[in-house]
């Protein structure tokens, strides 16, 4: 029983309820402040939890020599809460964290905190801040819950908790100019992800039929080793369900619309955190519970991920909308993560985990920047915004270039290590996998990195550079405001820090 972890889950949810309970006028005024304070507390709490987890005499710092090579993703739970919940269905309220989930929880807390902070000054045009902040907090609860659930049904429940608030965020606070579009985007998002999680639940039920347990901790130490038959069906269902969320090509179609139409904070959370639910689920559930069947489907997963890298990059090359472009870049980056998971090798999984965090930070920053540019020009169409942002908004332009360089995987910035380790994992994949196939994936993904560079440079060229005489500065356009600097600074610092000091995270995953 760990009160800290439960508090991390309960506090945002209760705060959301409290906000809705407040009278409307008061609620509107204090929403962002309350949200910032509470999410700040959650961030501090997750920091404390992290410290307790990894402190030298702590329970869960495992190094390579400590234990024999186990299955990837095996749970070494800490801060566990395990009480019976629905006995007739064999469902337990089982929470717990380990070094795989802890960084993701911290990332969630950080991004929600920054979104609330950002909302202190910069609000969507639709107003209704009280509900927006409350929904963000509900999303926080759901995401942290998903990352800490150690019961399949509980995992599914938290997974679902996230969807509806995000749907509302897109639908209500989305793009002002395109009501039908944002409604369509929100509906597509919610329908596709709900369909995916329904399939996932079906897979969970099959797992229960095979093994008689929903408990992830038990399952990861007693995996279903044989392959084929019902296990394969379960693995396929779970993989497809999670792949929708990730999203894997060709199930990604909801993503560009949802990201492009969502408000800035929505895009940040969607790209920064929500996509990680899928990849986390694969590492946490698919690989450890059904290793044999995962090995059967891994080449296909890897192949689709590679296609995603190429297709996402190519699609970016032809985009004319900055938010859509960044959204499509997520398809490519999540393709790298998918490839890393598919390799089933320690390096690949480490890379996927690292890329999860790095992508959350960098894409969060990119969406913040895209939102800032969109707010200033009232459009996210590249042709309407015009060129020469360096001349009009030098600081934002510079930061955009920085974020683009980080996102294209420049060594020395956070984006590199994940991609590098994924490719290294593909160079020698897990024992059960066909190596030649993965070598091909590696080479194609390598070409994908060049394409990634190409579209980001194209973005910089078409947006930041250009003759300022043709695109005079608008009078109202102010460069980087203070609140933006404050909200973005942690992301910038982390991008550089993780790029130069990857051991900060890598050291926790040496048991993989």
């Amino acid at each position: 029983m760990s009160w800290l972890l439960i508090a991390l889950l309960a506090v945002p949810a209760l705060t959301a309820a409290l906000l809705w309970a407040l009278p409307a006028g008061t609620g509107e005024r204090v929403a962002a402040i309350v949200g910032s304070v509470i999410s700040g507390l959650v961030l501090i709490g997750s920091g404390v939890l992290w410290w307790k987890l990894v402190r030298p005499d702590g329970p869960s710092v495992l190094t390579a020599g400590d234990l024999p090579r186990t299955l990837p993703g095996k749970v070494h739970g800490y801060a566990e809460t395990d009480v019976s919940w629905i006995p007739s269905l064999d469902v337990r309220f089982h929470l717990g964290i380990d070094t795989i989930s802890m960084p993701l929880i911290a990332l969630t807390a950080l991004l929600v905190f920054l979104c609330c902070l950002y909302s202190l000054r910069i609000t969507p045009r639709a107003g209704r801040m009280r509900s927006l902040i409350a929904l963000l907090l509900v999303i926080e609860t759901g995401v942290i819950g998903t990352f800490s659930a150690l019961d399949l049904v509980l995992f599914f429940l938290f997974f679902e908790v996230v969807l509806i608030p995000m749907w509302l965020v897109i639908d209500i606070w989305g793009d002002d100019h395109d009501r039908a579009g944002r409604r369509r985007a929100a509906t597509t998002f919610v329908l596709m992800t709900v369909l995916g999680s329904a399939l996932m639940l079906l897979g969970f039920l099959l797992v229960h039929r095979l093994t008689g347990s929903f408990d992830i901790e038990y399952l990861s130490s007693h995996p279903w080793r044989s392959s084929g038959g019902t296990g394969l069906k379960a693995a396929l269902l779970i993989a497809v369900g999670l792949a929708v969320k990730m999203p894997l090509w060709p199930l990604h179609i909801w993503l560009p619309d949802a990201h492009a139409k969502a408000p800035t904070v929505g895009s940040v959370l969607l790209a920064g955190v929500l996509l990680k639910l899928g990849s986390y689920g694969m590492i946490r559930i698919l690989l450890p519970v059904l290793p044999g069947d995962s090995a059967t489907i891994a080449p296909y997963l890897g192949g689709l991920s590679t296609v995603a890298i190429i297709a996402g990059s190519l699609a970016c090359l032809a985009q004319t909308d900055v938010k859509r472009l960044i959204a499509y870049s997520s398809v490519g980056h999540m393709g790298f993560i998918g490839l890393g998971i598919a390799t089933m090798s320690p390096e690949g999984l480490t890379g996927a985990l690292f890329a999860n965090i790095a992508h959350g930070i960098i894409t969060g920053l990119l969406f913040f920047l895209a939102g800032a540019i969109k707010d200033r020009h009232d459009t996210s169409d590249l042709r309407a915004i015009g060129r020469a942002l360096y001349a009009r908004l030098p600081r934002i332009g510079g930061l955009l270039t920085f974020a683009c360089l980080a996102s294209l995987g420049l060594p020395g910035l956070a984006g590199f290590w994940g991609e590098m380790l994924v490719l290294l994992g593909a160079y020698h994949p897990g024992n059960l996998l066909p190596r030649t196939t993965f070598l091909v994936f590696m080479v194609v993904a390598g070409i994908g990195t060049v394409l990634t560079a190409a579209y980001f440079l194209r973005l910089v060229r078409n947006l930041c550079q250009g003759d300022p005489a043709e695109y005079p500065a608008a009078a109202f356009a102010v460069d980087l405001s203070r609140i933006e600097l404050i909200a973005w600074a942690p992301l910038i610092v982390l991008t550089v820090f993780l790029g130069l000091w990857p051991w900060f995270l890598l050291q926790y995953w040496t048991f993989l």
């Binding site: 480490t350 390598g446 250009g466 990857p502």
Partner: protein, 588 residues
């Protein structure tokens, strides 16, 4: 204020690099890890540094050139100084990282950060279309090579079970892995050092500020390729196939680039092609696989850094004062003989630089090129085909180098006696040829901040040849001098006749660029459209069709809702009857 701070930091950093080099000079080779972790269970990734002769040499080169560039830039650059100086400093730091690194990954970080910095610096004048395009091209082509480099690191690191450079030994690796790894590394080197077939980015990078060109061409970026091969020389010598490939690439490149330089009509472009060519000479020296060859290559790297840095800084002065480095524009000044008189320091230092490049006896380039030729000759005498090929190519390149140096020197600084003040061969290209003479009264040498680095580098370009201890193989010296004369004389006679024949093939640089455009860029754009269209019309089509099917189904069911109670009732009775029959059938 910020700009000043950055300038101080920049110059200070460069001096610090020089100081470090001085302190490390003579210290025994050693290495140390300062951070590291397992990634997964059996891959250890660490950052480490090392020092040895190569490190010290490169540190000194990088420090001196970057100090010169930083000081020079104070006079050269007027706007966006802070970002520029910061990037140049970062650039230098990245090169220093490459040089001191003992970890393949740390090396890669420096290696690619350099690429990014060069991208940003080439695009410094982002108002200009050619600068934007050149910057993007530079980054993408080097990045393409870097993918190969990364894979090479994988192959070598996995085969050697370590990513620490000092622990990589050829004898612990299988021969195929060694060959594959070094070949993949070579891809990265080719990209970074602009060798064939990834050569086209370097000439296109010329719209960047001249000091940046000096930095890229002399000490950092392109030299990093040579450095890496020198650093991993043991691995490369153990992989014969790689060395052969390297030799072929180098020989093709040096001749190709020299040919392109012979037809270029802009000072910086000539210099850029000459860099490609000279780098190929260094690679040729390395490809011999002998100690002598490596030594010669590094010697050439050293002297090349001096005279190429000098030449680019001189071109920068021309650009700064005249506003362009194109032959046509410079000729307008030269036809009255003004340029030489107005800029005596530039003229003298540039003459020394060109002399060193062309291999005028006594200047630095002469000695270093001779040492390459000598190493090739030694190797060739041992019965090596590679040695012969390299020998012939370097000699051929020496002829062409002399040709384009003399051509550049004469056309830029001297009026043609035969033409009596005309523009000469460039007249046809110049829309302003008939205009009045340009205003030359304001033409003068740059400020001393710009001239001091020139003079320093000129001294180096003249004197570095003696740094290695003078040992001259007289027959070879004689042959190369004669070859240089062979190249210089046609250039002189053409100039005197006012003619400058430029074959179309050379002027288009063998059409490589447009071929790449057609082969890669256009298909990629086409595929991009395909990807977007596919997403919208195929994948999105399925999703929309699913939605449409639901809507249509609901439409159909809605039609049953006629509002007529009797219809409902009929349906209900039919249902009851059907159920009753069903129950009877099942029950019986």
């Amino acid at each position: 204020m910020i700009a000043t701070a950055w300038r101080v930091i920049g110059v200070g950093f460069s001096l610090l690099v020089i100081l470090t080099a001085a302190l490390l000079h003579g210290v025994d080779p050693q290495q140390a890890d300062f951070a590291g972790s397992y990634a997964g269970i059996h891959t250890y990734i660490s950052f480490g540094v090392r020092t040895d002769d190569l490190t010290v040499l490169m540190l000194a080169v990088v420090g001196v050139v970057s100090a010169c560039v930083q000081v020079y830039s104070i006079g050269y650059l007027e706007k966006r100084v802070a970002s520029y100086t910061a990037l140049v400093t970062l650039f230098t730091a990245a090169m220093v990282t490459v040089v001191v690194s003992d970890s393949l990954f740390l090396l890669l970080i420096g290696w690619e950060v350099m690429g990014a910095c060069s991208y940003l610096l080439i695009g410094h004048y982002w108002e200009r279309q050619d600068a934007r395009a050149g910057a993007m091209k530079a980054f993408l082509m080097t990045r393409l090579g870097d993918v190969g480099f990364l894979f090479g690191i994988f192959v070598l690191g996995v085969a050697g079970d370590t990513f620490r450079i000092s622990d990589l030994h050829a004898d612990q690796m299988s021969s195929p892995a060694l060959t594959a790894g070094t070949l993949l590394l070579l891809v990265g080197v080719v990209g970074k050092s602009a060798q064939v077939p990834l050569q086209t980015w370097l000439p296109d990078a010329m719209p960047g500020p001249s000091p940046v060109s000096a930095l890229i061409h002399a000490a950092t970026m392109v030299a990093a390729g040579v450095f890496v091969i020198a650093r991993l020389f043991d691995l490369f010598t153990a992989a014969d196939a790689t060395l052969t490939v390297l030799a072929i690439v180098a020989c093709v490149t040096m001749v190709f680039a020299a040919l392109c330089a012979m037809a270029a009509v802009e000072v910086k472009r000539v210099l850029a092609w000459s860099t490609v060519s000279q780098l190929a000479i260094m690679f040729a020296g390395l490809s011999l696989g002998t100690r002598d060859g490596r030594h010669a290559a590094l010697f050439h790297l050293l002297t090349h850094a001096a005279f190429k840095g000098l030449l680019f800084l001189c071109a920068g002065v021309l650009l700064h004062q005249v506003g362009s480095a194109a032959f046509v524009v410079l000729r307008r000044y030269t036809r009255r003989g003004v340029l030489r008189k107005a800029m005596p320091v530039t003229f003298v230092t540039m003459t020394i630089g060109l002399g060193a490049l062309a291999g005028v006896p006594g200047l630095a380039g002469f000695f270093s090129k001779d040492s390459v030729v000598e190493a090739a000759w030694d190797h060739a005498r041992d019965g090596s085909t590679v040695g012969w090929v390299v020998l012939v190519s370097v000699c051929l390149t020496a002829v062409m180098t002399a040709f384009y140096c003399v051509r550049l020197w004469l056309w830029v600084f001297f009026r043609t006696p035969a033409l009596a003040g005309a523009l000469g061969a460039f007249e046809a290209d110049d829309p302003m040829a008939d205009l009045e003479d340009p205003d030359t009264s304001k033409l003068h040498d740059g400020s001393w901040l710009m001239l001091a680095p020139l003079i320093l580098l000129a001294i180096a370009a003249a004197g570095l040849g003696y740094a290695d201890g003078v040992h001259i193989d007289w027959p070879i010296a004689l042959v190369t001098t004669v070859l240089a004369l062979f190249g210089a004389l046609p250039a002189y006679s053409l100039w005197q006749r006012g003619a400058d024949p430029r074959p179309v093939l050379l002027e288009r640089e063998f059409g490589v660029d447009s071929a790449y455009q057609r082969l890669f860029v256009v298909p990629v754009q086409w595929f991009a459209k395909l990807a977007v269209g596919g997403d919208r019309d195929v994948i999105g089509g399925y999703v929309r069709a699913a939605g449409k099917a639901g809507t249509l189904a609901s439409e159909g069911f809605r039609r049953l809702q006629t509002g007529n109670v009797q219809t409902y009732l009929t349906a209900a009775v039919v249902g009851v009857v059907a159920l009753a029959i069903l129950a009877g059938v099942i029950g019986s």
